[in-house]
């Protein structure tokens, strides 16, 4: 406490030494884990139930295609780190480039999801209303896609601000870190979804 007293008044309001917004983002993300946890549990409960109207999601996955879009999303975490790193080096040009690259890779993933949903619905005939497993699949991946979409919008906003200002200010630097935290979270969740929902998929015995 004596050490804190020696600091100037800005730090007086951060008992933990972590910026309010960064701490808030961590707290919020801890809640998001439960959000996706519930969605994934729903899917796991329904995916192997026998007797549903066909097709089951596990019967129609296009693993090579989804692997490609998953790879794009994973690479976007790398470019996010590079953007953060470039900002730490005060390299404004590289920061902007990597921000844009991250948003682009996120958009590739989103495009892949739109294509996948369209294929599933119109070619394979699996709609939201086909069976509970399909409902759970669309709700889970749909909400994940919505999170990616929000992330892309935040990245593009940051990009726009840095273009306007010519450089990212100290405050925007923190914003970049916050968006980065969120973005990595969305990626991590996708690693779990891709592994559990796609790769370890199981239709009931005798199906698929």
């Amino acid at each position: 406490m004596e050490a804190a007293a020696a600091m100037d008044h800005h730090d007086q309001h951060e008992s933990t030494g972590i910026d309010h917004r960064k701490l808030g983002m961590w707290v919020f993300l801890s809640s998001e884990f439960l959000f996706f946890g519930a969605l994934i549990t729903n899917y796991l409960l329904y995916q192997g139930q026998p007797g549903f109207a066909r097709p089951y999601p596990a019967e129609i996955y296009d693993i090579p295609f989804t692997s490609f879009s998953s790879f794009a999303l994973l690479m976007s975490s790398l470019t996010m780190v590079l953007a953060h790193n470039a900002l730490a080096r005060r390299d404004q040009h590289a920061t902007r480039t990597w921000l844009l690259a991250t948003a682009m890779l996120g958009s590739v993933f989103l495009g892949g999801q739109v294509f996948e949903f369209t294929e599933f619905i119109s070619v394979s005939g699996m709609k939201l209303t086909t069976n509970p497993a399909a409902s759970a699949f669309y709700l889970l991946t749909g909400f994940h896609g919505f999170h990616v979409l929000l992330g892309v919008l935040m990245l593009l906003t940051l990009y726009g601000i840095s273009r306007r200002q010519g450089e990212l200010s100290e405050a925007s630097g923190l914003n970049l870190e916050l968006v980065g935290l969120y973005w990595h979270f969305v990626d991590i969740i996708w690693i779990v979804i891709f592994t559990v929902v796609y790769l370890l998929a199981s239709a009931p015995v005798g199906v698929g």
Partner: protein, 679 residues
């Protein structure tokens, strides 16, 4: 934040609001105290609405085969009574207490994210209005949501009251699904509760960051008042349980609106999954409702016993333990729904175990009063009432952990008696205790003790008359959620007693309202420290100045304020320090005339604008098949997006040019402070 170093882009939608008094100051405020007061008044209005619904239920049940309400109206009334009391009264009034008191108790000038705090409040208010807009928008005679299913309402039931949500506050599936609850009423319920949950989630993040990050110098975690600890525990419970109910409610909305099959048993959906998800939220929710009241009582009892809280650390740890174990007991709500014997045994055990930390708290409160010099103020009476009534409700709760006994009690009035003893005799008594205790902080005046005593004894008598007979009615086999009982059942007498009791409760509430209204203007002035209190929120003038603390406090011990006023003699009895009066005068002086200028979060239009978009999206989803619905969704999203844009371009504080230069000269711990955050 140094305001000169960085100039933000000046893009805005609105000019910054300036008013500090009057209507617009309340609409645009980011002050935790104003937000807390608004939460409190709104919650109390909803308390009256839920209370009127309860009176309707009691009139219907006062005699056998009564025809006061139709069955549909009865179902709607008990559904909205439960939903209102849980989501629109106890939760927001707890939010009111936490909003107003949390920053004061940790020695802060506001919460970590003042504008997000305003956002929570407006989303809550609009969520509540959205839920009750069902009275305008819902067509009770609406055809079924699924093709080929006839509407299941008797045309005689097509009343406005009967058109409210009628699936219970628990919304069990498939009863509340598209097949058995056609029309739009349950959509209003599912989305309304969703919005209220969103408001609470934002609050919980805000409160957690505030508690971890904004404590005054020396306010270590184990020096925080118990109320702050309980607020932290509640925020963590909200944080981890709300996402689960959010998913469950989304599933209901998708089932009802977009034809998904989560809970449609005919297509293989699993209605029991709803019960698991609901109670995995719903049981922590029970602790969300009661823990703030426990925190209040833990503040009030020591002050009026003139003793420190007995076993402070034990109370804190017991609170945390209740929260942790609260996530492992949910299936005791489901013993009769066909879960496996192993699950029944496991949840019976965990339910019995969670009674242990609760019992620890009861003994701590009794230990606090033991040997103390008790002062029976109204606040103290409510606190003692809380402890006594909560013991009764807690003990009847433990009987539900015994599975065969629970099978006997499920869906009877015994359950109704139990949870009203913990939620009314518990939470509501705790809330009243807090209202009497902290009223001077808001108004600078005391509530009348004479009216307060009348208030307490009518509520206490009315409460016990209403709910005690329900124990024996339940054990005799009277079932819940049913509008009628036959005359030969022999339930008439105790039901009539319960109805009389309910009206005595109503009279008690009216006494309270009169007391509040009268004391606000004519109450006795309280001075700075009316109760000889222990905690730091009483070191500042009443009513609380806009900036809270003229000088940020430095905390050296638990019950810091008490130790500034009292030392103890050789036998441990408190002895008032000779300099105590001088200390109080100094505190009054610095509280009224802060020695240094203080930056406060500036008001903003964006929180209310952001929140206003949300019910628009809700109505849009419910009527999404029509063009108007689609337009509403579009407009709602645009409103939210433009508010978010304007918000992100608006700094938290107005730049104060005249002060910027001497920032660095201010010693730490001085009155000069600002916010390190932008949200």
């Amino acid at each position: 934040m140094t305001t000169t170093a960085e100039r933000r882009p000046t893009t805005t939608i609105f000019r910054r609001p300036r008013s500090t008094t009057g209507f617009w100051s309340w609409i645009t405020t980011a002050d935790h105290k104003k937000i807390g007061i608004m939460y409190g008044y709104a919650a109390f209005i909803f308390f009256l609405v839920g209370g009127i619904e309860a009176l309707l239920l009691r009139i219907q049940l006062s005699a056998a085969d009564s025809t006061f309400l139709t069955a549909a109206e009865y179902n709607a009334a008990f559904t909205m009574h439960g939903t209102t009391m849980v989501f629109l009264f106890v939760m927001p009034i707890s939010a009111a207490f936490i909003n107003y008191l949390l920053p004061l108790m940790i020695g802060a000038r506001d919460v970590a994210f003042p504008r997000m705090n305003a956002l929570s409040w407006w989303i809550f208010l609009f969520g509540g209005i959205f839920l009750y807009s069902v009275l305008i928008f819902s067509d009770p005679a609406a055809p079924a949501g699924v093709e080929g299913v006839p509407g299941n309402l008797d045309p005689a039931d097509n009343t406005i009251l009967g058109g409210m949500p009628d699936g219970g506050w628990f919304g069990y599936q498939p009863n509340a699904g598209p097949f058995y609850s056609p029309g739009t009423a349950m959509d209003f319920w599912a989305l309304g509760v969703q919005f209220l949950g969103l408001a609470s989630l934002i609050s919980s993040v805000n409160f957690i960051v505030t508690i971890f990050n904004m404590r005054a110098l020396g306010m270590r975690l184990l020096r925080m008042p118990v109320f702050v600890w309980m607020s932290l525990v509640v925020a963590l419970l909200l944080l981890f349980s709300l996402p689960i109910i959010a998913i469950a409610l989304f599933m209901v909305t998708f089932d009802r609106q977009f034809g998904s099959l989560f809970f449609v048993a005919e297509a293989g959906g699993d209605p029991i999954l709803w019960q698991h998800l609901f109670w995995l939220f719903g049981h922590p929710e029970v602790y969300i409702l009661i823990l703030p009241a426990m925190g209040i009582v833990s503040e009030v009892l020591p002050v009026f016993s003139r003793k420190p809280l007995f076993g402070y650390a034990a109370v804190v740890i017991a609170g945390a333990a209740i929260a942790f174990m609260g996530f492992g007991v949910w299936a005791h709500h489901m013993f009769s729904s066909g879960i496996s014997p192993v699950a029944q045994a496991a949840f019976a055990l965990s339910t019995m175990t969670i009674a242990v930390p609760t019992g620890v708290k009861i003994f701590n409160w009794m230990g606090t009063m033991w040997g103390g010099r008790l002062r029976f103020t109204t606040s103290m009476l409510f606190a003692i009432g809380f402890v006594a009534m909560f013991v009764i409700g807690g003990l009847s709760g433990v009987t539900h952990a015994v599975v065969p006994s629970d099978w006997q009690q499920t869906d009877t009035y015994y359950i109704v008696a139990h949870f009203h003893y913990v939620l009314f005799g518990g939470a509501v008594f705790g809330i009243f205790s807090g209202l009497y205790y902290w009223f001077p902080k808001i108004t600078g005046r005391l509530l009348s003790e004479r009216l307060g005593k009348i208030n307490f004894w009518t509520l206490f008598a009315g409460f016990n008359l209403t709910f005690a007979p329900m124990h024996w009615l339940g054990l005799q086999g009277m079932v819940r959620r049913t509008a009628y009982y036959p005359p030969e059942a022999g339930f008439d007498f105790w039901n009539l007693v319960a109805t009389v009791g309910a009206f005595i409760i109503a009279a008690g509430v009216l006494v309270f309202m009169y007391n509040w209204w009268r004391s606000k203007k004519h109450g006795e002035p309280s001075g700075i420290d009316p109760w000889d209190a222990r905690t730091v929120e009483w070191t500042i003038p009443n009513p609380t100045p806009e900036y809270n603390f003229g000088v940020s406090p430095t905390i050296t011990s638990l019950d810091d304020f008490w130790h500034k006023k009292y030392s103890s003699d050789s036998e441990g009895r408190p002895v008032r320090r000779p300099e105590a009066e001088e200390t109080l005068e100094d505190l009054m002086e610095t509280g009224i005339n802060p020695p240094h200028p203080i930056h406060l979060p500036a008001p903003s239009y964006y929180p209310i604008l952001f929140a206003a978009g949300i019910p628009l999206v809700g109505w849009g989803i419910i009527f999404h098949t029509s063009l108007v619905g689609k337009l509403l969704i579009l407009v709602g999203v645009l409103v939210v997006a433009s508010a978010a844009f304007g918000w992100s371009m608006e700094p938290l504080e107005e730049p104060h040019e005249e002060h910027d230069e001497d920032h660095s000269d201010q010693p730490s711990g001085s009155g000069y402070s600002s916010y390190g955050s932008d949200a």
